[in-house]
Amino acid sequence: MGTLARMTSQEPDEFLVRLVREHGAALLKHLGTVLRSLSDAEDVAQETYAKLHRLGRPKTLLDPRAWLFTAAIRMAATHLKRERRRSMEPLDTEAEQVPDIAPLPEAHGMAQDAMRHLEAILRELPPQQRAVYVRYRILGESRKEIAAQLGIVLNTFDQHLCKAEARCRQRLAARGLGPQGGETS
């Protein structure tokens, strides 16, 4: 937060301050899970905020949290690759090339519309996949408890979840929800 405080004292950036206040803790936790290192997570979060500050707020931004997380994970990969190479190249040559956040739906209403189809999409899933997905992802129940109740091992649980999520994501994308071009490799 030190970096942010410094840079905002020079040039107040209300948007970024709010972003950090609302999502900073969650982001740090998520980065910790992905990086398995608190110091790396903190570094990446700082670098991300610094970069977002430089780039300024995108003109059309519907989901700041998604935008922040995407940017931070991109930054994390850059950070790790740089560490691995131990190169001395300047910090931003590569980073500046990835400012574009995956395009989000044009209107929030459109996202809401697509979500209205979630229920129908879930109905199409095989029952066990649906149970795993709804209870774990949507209702936040415990993974171990759900698996025990359904009588499946945790590996099967993960596979059900993965299939269900991929399916939902594809069906929602067909309705225009979600980052476009994600499937292109």
């Binding site: 990969a77 995956a102 809401q112 129908a120 709804v134 209702l139 945790l154 993960d158 993965c162």
Partner: protein, 337 residues
């Protein structure tokens, strides 16, 4: 190991798999290193992982309490469709000496920090639940609800059974009850909701005003109905609109006193009502029983006793054999009223 059903070229799919594994709390160091190699070995992998991460945040943000409640209802449907309620299982549950109703489970949702908690009653039980906003729900027999409210919204899903809601007034935060695909919206009032096993839903208002609505879906147009005091709406999934009638709302909540108010209804209605509170099966096979109508207040917690009392005024005879109560037609005797 990445499961074989994911196409090796499907970078988003593999990214999704890794996110699931990373958040699963049983990922060992070796597997984690496998993830790191995948993540950093190809810019397409890094990008897919970032995009997938963002998408999940976006998805979570779009999960409104209403959508969550509707999805919860979907799960309830599935359980009752997949596993028919087994009599033996119910008895087993009762034999487990569950005297008071049980909290099925409480947990904190990952998103937004709102607490979601389930409450249920077994056959013949009732229970009072006070939510964090001060609203109260009285649960009747065989009822399951889930509180999904947070600081911003108040939301309850009625998954099964019947509940009387006393909503704490709060004009800033509407109180929602989801029943299957319909939703009841209020600001502060008392109303009763009964989700019948047949799929029919009854909403009865004791005080204030409520709005019942159902959003459109692929098969049905939307509808919206405002109900005032002593109005009752009846509808099922396929109905284009609810049927609304004037009623004495207090009759609908007689169950709070352990009674059912059967007001000029066929005998079958009384049997259906009594069956809710017992695991005994009530059999009425004789076709002549169909023409009998009843106008009475029945005590619901002892079906045999209530029917025996009824037998004094209507032409039925009551037999009981273990878990079956049998009703037969009795020729009207001299003492007939």
């Amino acid at each position: 190991m990445i499961p074989s059903f994911i196409n090796p070229d499907d970078h988003r799919g593999i990214a999704l798999w890794w996110i699931i594994r990373l958040t699963a709390d049983d990922m060992g160091e070796e597997e984690y290193q496998e993830f790191r190699r995948w993540w950093l070995s190809d810019p397409r992998h890094s990008e897919a992982f970032a995009v997938e991460t963002g998408w999940r945040q976006q998805f979570q943000a779009l999960l409104t309490p209403e959508i969550r409640a509707r999805c919860a209802a979907l799960c309830a449907e599935q359980v009752s469709a997949g596993k028919p309620r087994s009599r033996r299982m119910i008895q087993y549950a009762i034999a487990a000496a569950v005297v008071a109703a049980t909290v099925i489970g409480g947990f904190v949702l990952r998103n937004g920090g709102s607490v979601s908690q389930s409450y249920a009653t077994q056959t013949g039980q009732s229970r009072t639940v006070t939510f964090q906003d001060g609203s109260v729900a009285y649960l009747n027999t065989r009822t399951r609800i889930r509180w999904l409210g947070g600081t911003q919204e108040r939301h309850v899903a009625l998954l099964e059974g019947e509940a009387l809601f006393e909503v704490a007034p709060d004009p800033a935060h509407a109180f929602h009850v989801s029943v299957d695909r319909s939703e009841i919206r209020v600001l502060g009032t008392r109303f009763n909701v009964y989700r019948k096993p047949s799929g029919e839903t009854l909403v009865t208002v004791l005080e204030g005003t409520v709005e019942v609505r159902r959003p459109a879906d692929a098969q049905h147009a939307s509808w919206r109905q405002v109900l005032g005091k002593d109005q009752q709406a009846t509808y099922s999934a396929a109905d284009a609109s609810p049927v609304v009638r004037q009623t004495d709302a207090l009759r609908a909540v007689k169950w709070r006193e352990g009674a059912a108010d059967i007001n000029n209804q066929p005998l079958s209605e009384a049997i259906e009502e009594l069956s809710r509170y017992t695991d005994q099966r009530i059999v009425a096979a004789d076709p002549r029983l169909r023409s009998i109508t009843i106008n009475a207040i029945l005590q619901v917690h002892n079906a045999h006793e209530s029917l025996t009392r009824l037998a004094k005024v209507i032409p039925i005879a009551v037999g009981e054999n273990q878990n079956v109560i049998t009703l037969t037609y009795r020729e009207p005797a001299i003492s007939q009223r």
